[in-house]
């Protein structure tokens, strides 16, 4: 038995650092894409036109209630097969990263949309009316009046969901990816595979995750409570 800190020795430390960077990349890219998707879907859900509204509602209903692991398994195994059969070209393995990002964005996007809708409904109706009498277009009303307020009203929920999205990047564990593209959990599994011990790599990434989620949680919540205080006091 050896009391090692081999996780902090090469090459494992390098793998871990790489994994941390991939985790950050995946969570920031998918989080941003999800935020934009969520806004767009929210806008469609609240229009009076039936078609887009139905499509957006369906999107939210589907992706809010699908678990990520089987969804990722389905998408990263069935879609490349379909792509091959339809186009006759191979779907390269590194492009699974895009599928992963798409699934994470769709999942978080649907949840963002649900949260944002509650926010939009929380914006006083007169806010839109007064903006309209000022001659602002529907788009300008959305971007400058409704969405900024909606986001602030539900800021704590958005912050929580953003962190959830970061944590969801571990779902990449079920996606086959080249070693260079593995995120933290994948690298931990790789280290465990070579050292026959899960304890150290898992403990190491658990600490990193705690620091990431508690740290970003602290900043996001501070931002959220300030933002929320402003719109709530102002709406009175």
């Amino acid at each position: 038995m050896h009391f090692g800190n081999y996780v902090f020795a090469e090459p494992y430390l390098g793998w871990l650092v790489r994994g941390i960077l991939m985790t950050l990349l995946i969570s920031v890219v998918s989080g941003t894409a999800a935020a934009l998707l969520g806004l767009w879907v929210t806008r469609l859900r609240l229009t009076s036109r039936r078609g887009p509204r139905l499509a957006a509602d369906t999107f939210v209903m589907i992706f809010r209630n699908l678990p990520l692991v089987p969804l990722l398994l389905f998408v990263t195994f069935a879609l490349p097969r379909l792509w091959l059969q339809v186009t006759g070209r191979a779907f390269p393995i590194w492009a699974d990263l895009y599928l992963l990002l798409a699934v994470l964005s769709a999942d978080s996007g649907a949840n963002f949309a649900e949260i944002l809708r509650a926010g939009v409904l929380g914006v006083a109706p007169q806010q839109q009316e007064v903006a309209r009498t000022m001659g602002l277009s529907a788009g300008a009303i959305r971007w400058h009046v409704v969405f900024p307020q909606a986001a602030r009203i539900v800021a704590p929920a958005l912050a929580t969901r953003w962190i959830q999205n970061m944590k969801n990047s571990t779902m990449a564990l079920v996606v086959p990816l080249p070693l260079g593209l593995l995120e933290m959990a994948g690298q931990a599994e790789r280290i465990a595979g070579e050292t026959f011990s899960w304890v150290q790599p898992l403990t190491a990434i658990a600490v990193v995750y705690l620091l990431l989620s508690l740290g970003s949680g602290w900043f996001l919540n501070r931002w959220a409570s300030r933002a929320q205080a402003r719109v709530q006091a102002g709406a009175a």
């Binding site: 009316e129 009498t133 000022m134 001659g135 300008a140 400058h144 402003r230 102002g234």
Partner: protein, 254 residues
């Protein structure tokens, strides 16, 4: 309220009005509106000329706010004709685009955008609707805020303002767009008694400066001071006159 304004009868402010009166800015002709099969307005007609201040009074629930919402395009109506600055608004048809921004509305609550500074509130439409460059919009915004006496608050957020200050900012925001007519929907109804005067004072000043306004209010005394014409909305119809006595029906019996 300053003494000189309270003591002067409103009608005296336009002595010797010529028979060829100023052009009509706003004309409502037999506007009807039903809500859930219940008639709210059953034939409202009124005329507002440039420089006039029309006080629209009526008991609660008589449809005063509905009139304002119809004029500003926020609510549809069933029949009749609404003409603003020569442009007809027809029943059941979309509000003409060229009228956007030419009817300023002040709601009961100031309805400032809480996520923007006071100045940003005022300049938003200047930049996004009038397409003014940022510097010019800012200049214009500051000027309007100064006119309302709230320029020092330009960088504050609405949540930190008093009710009276908010309402003054809201007026500045509406005036920044140079509206043909300003619709005020009980601008002082939700204010603490101590804050009413500062707002009334500004509205009176606007009246003196010749701003065309439609003023919906419960405060009959204030209406008499500010207005040059009076309208009483009751049972879905409207009765207009230049006689301040029109409003007497509203006085609670003593």
């Amino acid at each position: 309220m300053p003494a000189d304004l309270t003591t002067r009868p409103a009608a005296d402010r336009h002595p010797g009005r010529a028979p060829d009166e100023p052009r009509v800015v706003l004309n409502l002709d037999q506007i009807t509106k039903r809500f859930n099969e219940r008639p709210v307005l059953s034939g409202v007609s009124l005329t507002l000329r440039q420089g006039e201040v029309l006080a629209l009074c009526g008991p609660s629930g008589s449809g005063k706010t509905t009139v304002i919402r119809i004029i500003s395009g926020l609510a549809p109506f069933d029949s009749g004709l609404c003409t603003i600055d020569g442009t007809a608004v027809n029943a059941g048809q979309p509000y003409p685009r060229r009228l956007y921004g030419s009817v300023g509305v002040i709601f009961q609550d100031a309805c400032l955008f809480p996520h923007m500074t006071v100045l940003a509130n005022v300049t938003l439409a200047l930049r996004k609707f009038k397409r003014l460059p940022a510097a010019q919009a800012r200049q214009r915004g500051i000027a309007e805020l100064e006119r309302m006496g709230v320029a020092p608050l330009a960088d504050r957020y609405p949540a930190t303002l008093s009710g009276g200050e908010r309402q003054r900012v809201a007026i500045a925001r509406a005036l920044a767009l140079d509206p043909l007519v300003l619709l005020l929907d009980e601008p002082t109804a939700n204010l603490d008694p101590g804050l009413v005067d500062e707002v009334c004072e500004r509205i009176l000043a606007l009246a003196c400066a010749g701003t065309t306004m439609l003023l919906v209010t419960h405060a009959i005394d204030f209406a008499r001071q500010a207005a040059t014409a009076f309208a009483l909305l009751r049972e879905g119809t409207c009765q207009c006159s230049r006689d301040p006595g029109t409003l007497d029906h509203l006085r609670p019996p003593r």
